[in-house]
């Protein structure tokens, strides 16, 4: 079973590390903790037992509580095999940044790196279009071709 725990943004790995250390030899059924790059402010805990958030092992700095209920395994499978940048993105596509300092901004694809890992973007709302290079997993396709 997979459960989601909220953390302070930027502290995901630290919270995961402390919980992983705490659950060892505790008898709690946590078997893994997943910190997907694209899921800011959350970590996913795989456990054979319900998470008792009152248990001291989960009382760690920057932990902000848990999400009620389980997450189906099928929903987290995508995180396990992060796709290289979607082949559907092309020069001129409109994308939204889903992580990093420009999170939430829309941008136009200027160039796609040969490795298909890096994408050069131009932020649409910026007064001066400055090219920004990001990783393929930091963007989400909004519109395949610009009008």
């Amino acid at each position: 079973m997979i459960y989601a725990i909220r953390t302070l943004v930027g502290q995901e790995k630290n919270v995961a590390r402390v919980i992983a250390r705490n659950v060892k030899n505790s008898g709690i059924g946590v078997s893994s903790i997943l910190v997907p790059e694209s899921l800011r402010g959350y970590i996913l805990v795989e456990s054979s037992t319900n998470l008792d958030m009152q248990n001291p092992v989960f009382k760690v700095p920057h932990m902000k509580g848990s999400i009620e209920g389980e997450i189906p395994y099928t929903e987290i499978k995508n995180f396990l095999n992060p796709e290289p940048i979607l082949s559907s993105i092309q020069k001129g596509s409109i994308v939204e940044l889903i992580s990093g300092p420009f999170k939430g901004e829309k941008a136009k694809v200027v160039r796609i790196d040969e490795s298909k890992e890096d994408v050069v973007l131009e932020l649409i709302e910026a007064a001066v279009p400055i090219p920004v290079t990001v990783k393929g997993d930091q963007i989400r396709l909004i519109q395949k071709e610009a009008d």
Partner: protein
Amino acid sequence: MVTKACTRCHRIVEGDLCEVCNLATSKNWSGFLIIVDPEKSHIARDLKIQEAGEYALRVR
């Protein structure tokens, strides 16, 4: 210290070499996974990870 990940086994290590695979590591990695109990973890089974520890989901 910059953490790096092995390009083959995806273990997170602090040096330039993965001592398990004897391969150079990369600082270009993303996604983070801690396997606590490889025998009970469905995720570990899916990713064919047999040892507890810290792993990257993606390494370039």
